[in-house]
């Protein structure tokens, strides 16, 4: 009975965690492309590839973490299974949320640096003719 419940819990946990990761990655990087285009000044190719590389890394990290924390102990009845499952899925979801906001923060940083570079270049361009 106990092993059956544990296996059932694993089979509920794995699809939910994977679908959650897929959903978050898809939405985050669909919206992140806007930032990437900004950061790379509209150079489409490099923006798309950087976005794709970050997406791959995001999948690796989060799927890895989801599977790493899979192990559940001592499931005696349905109530304990629900508690263990909600703890795992809730914890994973909070973790995903934190990673999502870290990514967003990274996008902000990149955008700010790109803007400062652009402004510095404009200033240099304005300085050069007046110096001649």
């Amino acid at each position: 009975m106990t092993t059956d419940l544990t296996v059932t819990a694993y089979f509920i946990y794995i699809p939910i965690a994977l679908v959650l990761t897929w959903f978050v990655a898809r939405n985050l990087f669909k919206n992140g492309l806007v930032y990437m285009r900004d950061i790379f000044n509209g150079r489409e190719e490099i923006a798309v590839s950087t976005n794709q590389l970050f997406k791959t890394g995001f999948y690796l990290l989060n799927v890895g973490f989801a599977l790493w924390i899979l192990k559940m102990y001592q499931l005696e009845n349905t109530q304990e299974m629900i508690e263990a499952l909600s703890q795992k899925i809730g914890g994973f979801s909070v973790y995903l949320g934190i990673v999502l906001f870290l990514n967003l923060f990274m996008f902000f940083r990149g955008k700010k640096a790109a803007r400062q570079n652009r402004e510095a270049a404009e200033r240099r361009a304005r300085m050069t003719p007046s110096a001649e």
Binding site: V24, N27, L28, K30, N31, G32, V34, Y35, D38, T78, Q79, I82, E83, A84, S86, Q87, I89, G90, G91, F92, S93, V94, Y95, L96, G97, I98, L100, F101, L104
Partner: protein, 119 residues
């Protein structure tokens, strides 16, 4: 019927409804503020809005689910009701506090932005 399982179902159903509904409201009405923050970049405002919505759902629903694992064994319906209402009340309070903090934040960002563009 196990009282705990009943309580978990009620708790998750009610809080999920509140969180989903409020998230949608914020997404809908908050868009105006984000468009105000980035006046000539509607694409940026929209993508930021969607990322914020997903982050909000993940953190809040995740917290609610995480909270389920630490309930005591329920003995009676009175116990169930008392615990259920206090837990849901706490979630509502926390959401309200976060909401006002966010509104303050939006205002500060707007102020900073107008200073930056005036320079």
């Amino acid at each position: 019927m196990n009282l705990n399982i009943l309580a978990y179902g009620l708790y998750f159903g009610i809080t999920a409804f509140i969180i989903l509904r409020i998230g949608w409201l914020f997404y809908h009405f908050g868009a105006v503020y984000l468009h105000d923050l980035y006046p000539n970049r509607p694409d940026l405002a929209n993508s930021l809005n969607s990322i914020l919505l997903i982050g909000y759902y993940l953190l809040n629903l995740g917290y609610v689910a995480l909270n389920l694992s630490s309930w005591p064994q329920l003995q009676s319906y009175a116990h169930l009701l008392a615990l259920l209402t206090s837990k849901i009340g706490f979630i509502c309070l926390a959401l309200g506090a976060i909401h006002f903090a966010n509104m303050l934040w939006v205002r500060l960002l707007k102020k900073e932005n107008t200073i930056n563009t005036n320079l």
